[in-house]
């Protein structure tokens, strides 16, 4: 009797935990592939030798351009220059008709959050990888996962559903900002980071 009760409770705990840890994230997030399977690896490092800032650059007024607009791509890919089918498709579908690529942005913050890249990169000297991870070496773009409730990217919370980052760069929620700013001894007002 006692044993059966225990078994049932343990089974229940396993069921509940399984739902929470495994099924819940599957239900919570959508999965969408990017419109073009862009390879960072091909463009950076030993292959094309570009750095992050070659494409993800700043405008003269200090704004960060984020994912570059199509004209940045067209600068090199005005016509097909490689041999992959994906590049050929990219040139035909986007470059030639001049259609902007509807990229999904993994790190898109809510409209009321303000994050100046210039201050963090130029003044604080934080490397891109510290927040964005080593995706510059990746060959394929991971699927974009949007939270069905909030509409934000999964990368804001972090890939790990527990919220405990498995890598130091995971997660882009406010607590992470606050922690780092506290370590720097900064005194900020709310509106320093909210608009």
């Amino acid at each position: 009797m006692k044993r059966r009760t225990l078994m049932l409770i343990i089974a229940g705990v396993a069921l509940g935990a399984g739902t929470g840890w495994v099924l819940f994230p599957l239900a919570l997030y959508t999965r969408e592939s990017q419109p073009v399977n862009f390879s960072h690896k091909v463009h950076t490092g030993e292959q094309a030798g570009m750095t992050c800032e070659n494409c993800h650059d700043f405008t003269a007024d200090g704004r960060f351009s984020g994912i570059p607009a199509l004209d940045k791509c067209t600068g090199c890919h005005g016509a097909t220059i490689g041999s992959t089918d994906e590049e050929k498709r990219f040139v035909e579908e986007f470059v030639i008709p001049g259609r902007p690529v509807p990229w999904r942005v993994y790190s898109r913050q809510p409209d009321n959050a303000y994050f100046p890249h210039a201050a963090h990169v130029k003044l604080a000297g934080i490397a891109c990888e510290e927040c964005h991870g080593p995706h510059g070496a990746g060959d394929a773009l991971p699927a974009y996962q949007a939270n069905r409730l909030t509409g934000y990217s999964r990368d804001i919370w972090g890939r790990n559903i527990s919220g405990i980052p498995s890598h130091p760069w995971e997660g882009m929620k406010m607590d992470r900002c606050v922690r780092c700013h506290a370590l720097q001894g900064r005194t900020d007002g709310c509106i320093d980071c909210h608009k």
């Binding site: 409209d111 100046p116 210039a118 201050a119 709310c190 509106i191 608009k195």
Partner: protein, 257 residues
């Protein structure tokens, strides 16, 4: 990096009431800059959203010596015992220690409107309606300012988004301190009569600090001790008297006349 190398500013403004013609350009520039929606049909001066409002004011006597002034009234950015902060149950208002700007985070606000009651300058507005733009006009929103939802309070923050941009621009050049010309609020920029001067009051050589220190400058309701960072100036005595006018002072004012 040493964060202390960043200069602590105290942003303020001086408004020359002898120049203001009450044209309303500042009010429109402000609403456009901050994505404030046009009025709903039943909105009134009591329920509308204006971060900056221009009031007309007469000196009183109707037969002779009539004189009119227009007073642009915005958040006075109180530097001491800031009344709205003391009453906010949500910590949705704070004074930015590095700029002196009183910030309001609408996302934290629960809409109790204590701050509106506490504000001696009536400089706060409540969103009685959902923000609504005529079809297509939402495309013309300023991307640097997030729109607010129904049920929260909002107010002037000295065009803080422009300060963000000025700081980002300075940061790109590796500097922590901004160029004063890069940070000008929308109302100051738009004033056709150039009646407003803006800048860092801590910088003694700035136009605004000099104007604030001038003899003709004054603050509204100085007796409350809130130390507004918005100053006004006028050569007309009656305006200065009215600026310190409270129910209790009406007697003394009568004597004054």
């Amino acid at each position: 990096m040493d964060p202390k190398s960043e200069k602590t500013a105290r942003y303020g403004m001086v408004i020359d009431l002898d120049r203001c013609t009450g044209c309303g350009a500042c009010m429109v520039a402000c609403a456009v800059e901050h994505n404030v929606p046009p009025a709903e049909s039943s909105a009134t001066p009591r329920t509308g959203i204006t971060w900056l409002r221009v009031y007309g004011m007469d000196n009183g006597p109707e037969d002779s010596g009539r004189d009119t002034a227009y007073i642009p009234m915005l958040c006075q950015q109180c530097g001491h015992d800031t009344p709205c902060i003391a009453v906010c149950p949500q910590n949705a208002v704070d004074v930015d220690p590095t700029t002196g700007i009183v910030g309001q985070v609408p996302q934290r606000c629960l809409g109790c409107r204590y701050c509106m009651t506490a504000c001696p300058y009536h400089a706060r507005s409540f969103n009685w309606w959902d923000p609504h733009w005529p079809a297509g006009m939402e495309k013309t929103l300023n991307p640097d300012v997030s729109p607010r939802m129904r049920g929260v309070v909002e107010k002037c923050n000295f065009c803080h988004a422009r300060l963000h941009q000025a700081k980002a621009k300075a940061a790109l050049e590796g500097k922590r301190d901004i160029k004063p010309a890069d940070y000008v609020p929308a109302c100051v920029e738009s004033c056709p009569a150039r009646a407003m001067v803006f800048g860092d009051l801590n910088d003694a050589s700035s136009d605004v600090a000099l104007a604030a220190a001038a003899a003709a400058s004054f603050q509204f309701l100085p007796r409350l001790g809130t130390e507004p960072k918005v100053y006004y100036r006028s050569d007309r005595d009656w305006i200065r008297r009215k600026a310190d006018h409270t129910v209790h002072s009406s007697l003394t004012e009568a004597e004054h006349r």
